[in-house]
């Protein structure tokens, strides 16, 4: 399972490194979305950073949705799914690999967006650094859950529009928990409490993915 996961993750990351979709499409979109939120608040409000964590996670949500679809569409070329199926790869490994690759990509995006929110939304630098572990865990959870939900939407009508409908109710608690622990790092408050829920969700989604991903892929 681990070997397959490593193989799939390396494959996805290599495709990403060569196609540069993340660099030239997703990151610019995220940065522009962040700038626009700063503009929408206006200079006076943008300096007041209490909205920073919320806006960061809102932009992260948009970017995550794009990247889940991107990650799933790697197998969309005609015949790819069928030929991958004949390789006899362990589906749990495929799931872990895709989730791992997506996690790495989201981490890169997340760090760029964090730098952006420090610059544009004036979130405090020290608080942001303190919030970093919780943000990384939240992004990993979004990636794992997103891989599972992404697999549900592929191949049907309008996967790009179906994905937000399926994921939003599931992502909402994660985003709220992430936002709260980010806010707690900035303004003080219960940090660990929200951490625990994201961490537990990460373990639960990983377990469910290992169990059920095979069902989605089998034909």
């Amino acid at each position: 399972m681990i070997a397959v996961a490593r193989l799939v993750a390396a494959k996805d990351l290599r495709i990403e490194a060569r196609s540069r979709v993340l660099l030239w499409q997703v990151l610019p979109f995220g940065v522009i979305a962040l700038l626009l939120s700063g503009l929408a608040l206006g200079p006076a409000q943008a300096g007041n950073s209490s909205a920073g964590p919320g806006l960061f996670y809102l932009v992260t949500l948009f970017v995550t949705l794009l990247m889940i679809n991107r990650s799933q569409s790697l197998e969309n070329a005609p015949g790819t799914r069928a030929s991958v199926a004949t390789l006899g790869l362990d589906p749990a490994g495929v799931f872990l690999g895709k989730a791992l690759a997506l996690t790495v990509e989201l981490w890169v995006t997340g760090i760029v967006l964090l730098a952006g929110s420090v610059l544009v939304l004036h979130t405090a630098l020290i608080g942001t650094v303190q919030a970093l572990p919780s943000i990384l865990v939240t992004l990993a959870t979004l990636a794992v859950a997103g891989t599972l939900y992404g697999a549900l939407t592929q191949g049907g009508d309008g996967p790009a529009t179906l994905l937000p409908v399926l994921t939003l109710p599931a992502f909402a608690p994660l985003l709220i928990a992430g936002e709260r622990s980010f806010s707690a790092a900035l303004h003080g408050g219960a940090l660990w409490e929200w951490w625990v829920i994201v961490l537990v969700a990460l373990v639960a989604y990983t377990a469910v993915g290992i169990l059920l991903y095979g069902v989605l892929e089998e034909s």
């Binding site: 549900l152 191949g155 179906l162 939003l168 599931a170 059920l212 069902v215 989605l216």
Partner: protein, 238 residues
């Protein structure tokens, strides 16, 4: 015996609901603090019970049975789908009746407390399930995916149930399914409420049965349409 109970399902449901309404509106007394508002007790909890436990439970169990190889059949998939569709109706009714009750008692139509929020999220999940089904044409693919999604969604149900225990909510705790097993509803009010539970549960099964029959006919129809089209093509070819 089965035939008889099938035939009686509709009439018995209507009788139970009618009796609930008569008891609820005319026979039962006013509540000490809530006065006449207490009459929503005979409607809102039973509807919520059906929405969260009976119909969502049916959909989840049917989905699990579909995924389990030994019991996999399109019947399970259809039951899950139909139960989920009925569930959407009942979740919406739960939110509406709750809102109507909340305004005069709490003073607000809606509060973002744990119980209300988690119920609303469940409603969105159920709608997403229907959206997922519409997006897939291939019956086995659709069945498998929606079964997985239903199971992912069902995690929310215990959270809703225990939300009033785990957290401090504006919504009151349980009156019947309490952790101590104590009943908090008295006399004829309890009778009317329990009758409501029976009536709305029967209503669910009635709706489920009719919806299931419709789904079977619809599937048969789509196969027949395909056959007709094929036959037409053949005749054109000759």
């Amino acid at each position: 015996m089965i035939k008889l109970s099938q035939r009686l399902l509709g009439p018995v449901t209507l009788a139970c609901l009618a009796a609930t309404f008569v008891l609820g509106l005319w026979v039962t007394p006013e509540d000490r603090t809530q006065k006449n508002l207490v009459r929503l007790l005979y409607v809102h909890p039973p509807i919520a019970w059906v929405a969260l436990y009976v119909s969502f439970g049916t959909a989840t169990i049917a989905s699990c049975l579909y995924l389990w190889r030994r019991t996999r059949s399109m019947t399970m998939d259809r039951i899950a789908y139909c139960a989920m569709e009925v569930s959407v109706v009942f979740i919406i009714l739960t939110l509406i009746t709750g809102s109507i009750w909340g305004r005069p008692t709490w003073g607000v139509w809606w509060a973002w407390d744990a119980r209300l929020t988690s119920t609303a999220i469940l409603g969105v999940f159920a709608l997403a399930y229907l959206a997922l089904r519409r997006a897939n044409d291939d019956p086995t693919l659709r069945a498998r995916r929606s079964a997985v999604f239903a199971i992912l969604t069902a995690v929310n149900v215990p959270i809703i149930h225990f939300s009033v225990v785990w957290w401090k909510t504006l919504h009151q705790g349980a009156s019947v399914l309490t952790s101590t097993g104590q009943l908090n509803v008295h006399g004829s009010m309890l009778l009317a409420m329990l009758l409501g539970f029976v009536g709305f549960t029967l209503l669910f099964f009635w709706l489920l049965r009719e919806r299931y029959r419709l789904e079977v006919k619809r599937d048969a129809r789509s196969i027949a349409t395909l056959d007709e089209a094929l036959a037409l093509r053949r005749r054109e070819g000759v």
